[in-house]
Amino acid sequence: MTNTPTQHRKVLIVEDDLEMCMVLDRVLTTTDQHVMVDWATSVDEAISRLQEKAAQSITRPYDLILADIFLEGQSTGIDLWKLCQEEFPDVPVVVTSSLPLEKFFALVGRGNIAPPFLAKPFQVGGCRQFLEGILSYGKAS
């Protein structure tokens, strides 16, 4: 699906660090003025938001979900990615973490498909380029 310039892109940030939320929000909204950002601090809250949109028959509730791995509650950003793969396959999910890559792959499961990964700490410029690429491509995974 190609977005027209005036069409709002919806991004869900799943992150429990306020500072990180605000920086990601800022990077997204300055990268594309038509981005609308929702926040959730846990996977459960993110799932509730997805279900709300699904109940309104919105087939692609978000154009991008950006999820930290370790969040409030038991579930991780990897769990959210797996759920989206099954329930919302059109929604690209990027996971972020300060985990070293080898631990990230161990968490996903060796030999399995891994979600796009944004390593922390990141430089704002690099993060912007990464997100621009994902949003312009329209589908990250």
Partner: protein, 144 residues
């Protein structure tokens, strides 16, 4: 003194989303911070680069770190190392977002010291955080 700082932080907190969205920069603060960051030598050297798009977030960020110092001092009084560790962990992650690697580094040390329940090191790194913040803001360091 502490109460005033916390009130200011909370007051900004209520508006921070609007602040980020509406590009309302709290201009005097922004210029103040920018001027002092570029002029400060260590631990925030002149070559520190802050992305212009997130510069608007810096004043509120620094106020929240001031509040962190107050909280950390309260936590150390009751030896609440877990709360200190969590604050240290977050500092580690978010300082370098603003190019403030010294904050990230101190956060990492604080997280580690709190994990070890090393009260002397924890006190040392809380003081270090306080000094970093004062230098960044260009204020004279007057610790109690």
């Amino acid at each position: 003194m502490e109460k005033a700082a916390l009130n200011l932080q909370l007051s900004l907190g209520r508006h921070e989303r609007g602040l980020a969205r509406s590009d309302h920069p709290v201009r005097s603060w922004m210029c103040y911070s920018l001027k002092n960051i570029t002029m400060t030598e260590t631990p925030c050297p002149p070559e520190v680069f802050i992305d212009p798009d997130i510069l608007v977030l810096l004043p509120a960020y620094l106020l929240r770190r001031d509040a962190d110092v107050l909280l950390l001092r309260k936590h150390i009084e009751v030896q609440d190392f877990e709360s200190i560790r969590v604050i240290g962990h977050k500092l580690r992650g978010n300082g370098s977002l603003f190019g403030l690697d010294s904050i990230s580094k101190t956060g990492e040390e604080l997280e580690s010291a709190a994990g070890d329940k090393d009260i002397f090191k924890v006190r040392k790194y809380i003081q270090e955080l306080f000094e970093h913040l004062e230098k960044i803001k260009g204020r004279p360091q007057e610790d109690k």
